[in-house]
Each structure stands twice: as structure tokens, then as C-alpha cells.
Amino acid sequence: MAARGATGGVRLHIVTGKGGTGKTTVAAALALALSGGGRQVLLTEVEGRQGIAQLFDCPPLPYEERKVAVGPDGGDVYALAVDPEAALLEYLEMYYRLGRAGKGLKRLGAVDFATTVAPGLRDVLLTGKVYEAVRRSARGTPVYDAVVMDAPPTGRIARFLNVNAEVAGLARVGPIRGQADSIMSVLRSPRTAVHLVTVLEEMPVQETIDGVAALAAIDLPVGGVVVNMVRPPLLPRAALTGAGRGTLDRADVVAGLHAAGVTAHVEKITDALLAEAAEHARRVKLERRERRALAALDRPTWELPLVTDGIDLGALYQLASHLVERGAV
């Protein structure tokens, strides 16, 4: 079944974002959203943080696809924590039937070397496993309708996905090179979209803008921008201006407090309320500026509300339905 929203036709969703913007949460919500309509979705993580297990409140994920949630209409979300070491051994086993020699390699430190030190190899293994999941099929139909990758942060995403260039320096020929080429062709195709998660603050927005440019520079398809943890402005527009300029009517506030039955420490409370309003106004102003900067990117932009009581499965379903309503899926 085809997806409906802005990302219809995309099979591989790569989610990146600056640290602290809720990248993993958004990846999980997107996976849930994609599982609507009875679809099968795989959610993967590649940084060894076990962030998915924490979100879905389940034991640490092994190197194995496990069902973590059921979508609306009978869809399923599976999860996989891709481990470079396991991916390498799997790869060697698949192509070289190593058997016990694989363990020997591990003892010698070769697996560690290949997965940690050899530049780029680790990333090829991580993206390679996800690529394999995207392409896997049974009886002619894909096993997963969509694969979502909780990817490394915005600052590293272009380099991480540019596996071709990374291995170019080390493997000019051979199977790894071939593997990198195939991965790259899928990553650059319209079947892939890289989504960037941000919040309405200066540095995350700047990194998002830089990230979009870096991805475009290497021909990787940028999907949407997810603006996470959005708080609605609480003051009426006119009041925001007054609060920012410090021209709100103090006597009015004092009178209002009395009317509300607040009679003790009224002056002190008034000071605090006005100071908070001024700060709120500055924040709202800054958020407007950041929104404009994001709009200039001219990418589909989806806003998600701040979840104040901690992210649990229920909150993920809510965020997922926001993504569907806003046309992301």
C-alpha cells in the first residue's frame, strides 16, 4: 500500500537532528505513523545507545528485529539496534562462510579494528545493514513497507551517509567498494528522504540549515524539517509587544490579581509576572525569527508540540498522529 503524505514513495526515512532536539523520539513517532494502514515498518538505531528500547520501555534490543509496537489497522513496528561488530561478522559469514575463523578475527582485534578504527568502514556496515532491510523481500514483495533510521546527529550526518567518499580513500576496488556503491545509489534515489529534527532555538536551527546544505552538496535527498517541542505563545499578540517593551500596565496587573483573590505579596508577584512575560515575549520573538529562517529552506515543515510529562508509548502515538495530520505521512 502506498503512503499518502508528503513522503509517499519513500521507503527509507533517515532522521537526524542536533543533540537534545528529540531525534530518537521523532524517529519512533514517524515509524508509528508509517505503520498506519496495516504497514510493516522497521525502526533502526545505529549509535549503540539503546534509545529505542528506552523509549518503548523494553529490554535492550539484541542484534535482531523485534516487534516493539502495533500500529493502527494491524500494522507493526519492528526495531533493530544495528551493531557494527555483529554486522561485520554477519557480512563475512554471508560472503565468506568463515565459521570459527570469525571468532579468531575477533580475538585478534581485527573486528574491533575494522569497526572502530578503519575510517568509514563502520558507517558502511551500519548503513549496509539498513540498506539490506530496505531491499529484503519475501516472495517478491518487500518485507518492510518502510524503514526508519535514527541516524547520527546533524553535524555528522552528511559524512555518515556519504559512505562512498568515505571508503574511496581506503578501498578502491573489492566487495566493500561494491557494497558502498549500491548503498549510495539507494540513498541518492527518491526512495530515500533525510529528515532533520530541530527546535526553535538558534544553534539547532543553524545546524539544520548547515545540514540541509551539506546533504544537498552531496546529492542526498532532503525530506522534511520536523520542528519539535513547540510551545504555543500564551500571551495575546498585543500583550507580547507590550511585555517585550516593558509597557504593560502595572496597575492593571495589580487590579487583576486582587480580582483573582491574590492579596498577599501582590507587588512582588506583579514584578515576577512582568519579568516572566518579558522573557516569554523575547522567546516568542526569537522563535518567530527561527521559524522564518527555517521557512527559507523551502522544505516541508512539520511542527510537533512539546510533551511535558515525559515521552511514553501513549505520547509517541500522539506525536505520530500529529505527523499524519500535518501531512508528513
Binding site: 563475512l92 582485534g109 500583550a239 523575547r282 510529562d309
Partner: protein
């Protein structure tokens, strides 16, 4: 309720025995800002301080005079030097730091050979642990130069705060480890025949690697390691030496966290790890907390009462502005209460860790004025 000890940042910075302060924590919690703020405060209290930053925001970098990434500490203008201190700042250029290590330790011909090696070029700019390793290396250099009496270090934006401690040792261990020895064997003895004699397994394995990566790559690794090996006494020793520096008296770690679940979980891991490694933890910096009201002090109106008052006004109609202000206050109080609960949980688990707090600001920290304000929060003055 568990009350945490308050972090006494000034006694830490004023103590001449404090020579290195390392700011670590998960990505996006404000490590760079914290490091810069602390260094500035130290300088204005009379220390000759240098701050080593990894990836500062553009405007903050500019305000500190860090327009170019040239790996050289430069004096920051606008610092109050009345107490006799000064502040230098530098941004880490990892590739250049690596090159400098090579140039300093190899004769010119060998250095050229290494710098031109493709594998070296990948490792020096591509490997995820290189940044951590080079931050450590630079820290070692700054400390050895003895030009400053206090070095404040920001740590790279790793996926995990622990990477900073682990990556250097990891890189060192590999480049100096058993596997590399095996790889080098043919280069040393002139051919694969030797390997075959030593161990058939090793031969099988070099063959596999050669098949996967290409024989050329293996040769490049071999020449690279051989060149480095003769250059200085092993990477591991170097990594070990810097690691020792971190555990030495005079070093203090500050774990930086935002009052959020994930950041505090990461902070917990780090605190436990530092304890296990017997590394000196000065405390936790809780960044961007909301219970410090702008202008200072607590408001004598609880969030619950503010919410109730807003409802009362809604019932009677009118006073729309005051109603909105009360709702704003109620929400902020609720946020502050949530953050307090998270902080209390951290303190329950780590009762001995001193905690310093920095207020959330509506805008990013851009200049020395902002940095001073951050540091003064941390000193408990706001």
C-alpha cells in the same frame, strides 16, 4: 527530600592547585558555553586561563575573537584584567593537531611520507575517535607548555559523554595493538611467507582483509603503522600519559546536563564512570533550569495557586492579560517543578555530587556579557 550540596565554583577556580577543568556531558547541553563561562570567570578572578573549545556556535566564537580555526590560543579582548588574570581561547583543529604530532616527532622525510599516506589522511580527519584523541593531545600540549595556570576543556560532541574517556585509549590500543603487529609482520619480514610460518590463521585473515578492502589498502595501513612505529614510542603510551593527566591531582571534571531525563541519565553514567576510574569530579552543572525567576528569587505564588487564580478570573470574565500572565506563571512553575524532581532523583542516586545551576535564557549566549551572567548563576549569585 534530598538536598544537594551546592557547587562552589569560585573555590574551585580560585584554588591555585586546580590546573585543569574538563567539561563533559551529552550533546546539546551547553558544554561549550559552560566551559567558556567558567574560563572567563577564572580569568577575571586573576587566573591565567585558556579555554580549549571544540565546536563553538559562530556568534560566541566571534565574540571571543575565534574567527579562524587555527589551533593557536589567542587572547580574548574585553576581559577584565584588574585581578591580574587573562583569558586565551582556542578552537581545536583535529587534523592540524594530528599533523603537528607527526611533524614534531618524525624527521622531515618520514613526516612527509606519513602526511601523504591515504590511510593517515582518513584516520586524521575521519575516524570518530580522532577528535577525542586530539582534544586529549592538545590538552597535554597546553599543560606541558606551562603558559597558563588553568586550562578549561570543552569535550567533543560525542554520541555519549563516555566517548571522551574511551576513544583515545581505543585508538591508542589499536594502533599499538596485536592486530597492527600482525598486519605489520609482512612489511617487516618482507613478505607473506613469514606470516604463513607464524600462523596459518593470520594468513587466512590477512587474505580475507585484502580481498574485502583491497590489497592496496592493507599496504597503506602497513606503511602508515611502520612509519608511526619508528616515530615515537607507541600511541598507547601517549594516550596513557594523557589519561594519567586527567586522573592527576589538579584536574577537576564538571559534568554538564540539562534538567531532562536523557541528559541526566547520561550524566549519571558519567559520574559513575569517573568514580570507577578514580577521576576527580567537582560537580554537576545543571544548565538551563527554569526555577530561577528572571530578576532573581522565588515568586511567592505557587503554580497551583496561579492556575486557580487564572480560573477564578476566567469565571468572572475580564482581566484577559492577567489571566494569561497567571497561566504563563503556572506553566513555568510546573516546568520548574518537573526539573526539580529530575534533579532530586539525580541527587538521590549521587548524594555526594555538588550541583551548580544556570538559569534558562530566552536567547543563546552570544558574548562576554552573557558568559559573565552564566558564570555568575553558577557561582550562586543570581
Amino acid at each position: 527530600m534530598n538536598a544537594s550540596t551546592r557547587l562552589s565554583i569560585d573555590s574551585l577556580l580560585d584554588d591555585p592547585a586546580t590546573r585543569i577543568v574538563v567539561c563533559c556531558g551529552a550533546g546539546g547541553v551547553g558544554k561549550t558555553t559552560t566551559a567558556a563561562a567558567i574560563a572567563l570567570r577564572a580569568a577575571e578572578r586573576g587566573r591565567r586561563a585558556v579555554v580549549l573549545t571544540i565546536d563553538p556556535a559562530r556568534r560566541l566564537a566571534q565574540s571571543m575573537g575565534l574567527d579562524e580555526l587555527d589551533n593557536t590560543p589567542r587572547t580574548v579582548g574585553g576581559v577584565d584584567s584588574a585581578a591580574g588574570g587573562r583569558l586565551d581561547a582556542m578552537m581545536l583543529d583535529m587534523k592540524r593537531t594530528f599533523d603537528e604530532v607527526v611533524l614534531a616527532h618524525a624527521d622531515p622525510a618520514r613526516a612527509r611520507e606519513i602526511l601523504a599516506n591515504p590511510f593517515y589522511r582518513s584516520v586524521s580527519s575521519g575516524f570518530a575517535g580522532t577528535q577525542e584523541y586530539m582534544a586529549m593531545e592538545k590538552l597535554g600540549q597546553l599543560r606541558a607548555s606551562d603558559r597558563w595556570d588553568l586550562i578549561v576543556v570543552d569535550t567533543p560532541p560525542s554520541r555519549s559523554a563516555l566517548d571522551f574517556l574511551d576513544a583515545p585509549a581505543r585508538l591508542g590500543a589499536f594502533l599499538d595493538g596485536r592486530f597492527i603487529r600482525v598486519l605489520m609482520a609482512p612489511a617487516r619480514r618482507g613478505g607473506r611467507a613469514y606470516v604463513r610460518v607464524v600462523s596459518a590463521g593470520v594468513g587466512v585473515f590477512t587474505n580475507i582483509l585484502a580481498r574485502i578492502l583491497g590489497a592496496q589498502f592493507l599496504t597503506e595501513v602497513q606503511t602508515f603503522v611502520a612509519a608511526l612505529d619508528t616515530m615515537f614510542g607507541g600511541f598507547r603510551e601517549r594516550a596513557d600519559a594523557t589519561y594519567q593527566l586527567l586522573a592527576a591531582p589538579g584536574t577537576a571534571f564538571l559534568v554538564v546536563a540539562a534538567p531532562e531525563r536523557d541528559a541526566l541519565r547520561e550524566a549519571s553514567y558519567f559520574v559513575e564512570r569517573l568514580a570507577a576510574e578514580r577521576m576527580p569530579l567537582a560537580g554537576l552543572v545543571l544548565n538551563r533550569v527554569h526555577d530561577i525567576v528572571p530578576g532573581g528569587g522565588r515568586t511567592p505564588l505557587s503554580g497551583d495557586r496561579a492556575a486557580a487564580a487564572a480560573e477564578a478570573l476566567a469565571d468572572s470574565g475580564g482581566h484577559r492579560l492577567v489571566r494569561a500572565l497567571l497561566v504563563l506563571h503556572a506553566e513555568r512553575s510546573a516546568l520548574a517543578a518537573r526539573e526539580r524532581r529530575l534533579a532530586e532523583r539525580f541527587t538521590a542516586a549521587h548524594p555526594k555530587v555538588a550541583v551548580g545551576r544556570v538559569a534558562a535564557r530566552p536567547e543563546d549566549v552570544h558574548d562576554l556579557l552573557d558568559l559573565r551572567a552564566v558564570a555568575s548563576d553558577l557561582a550562586g549569585l543570581s
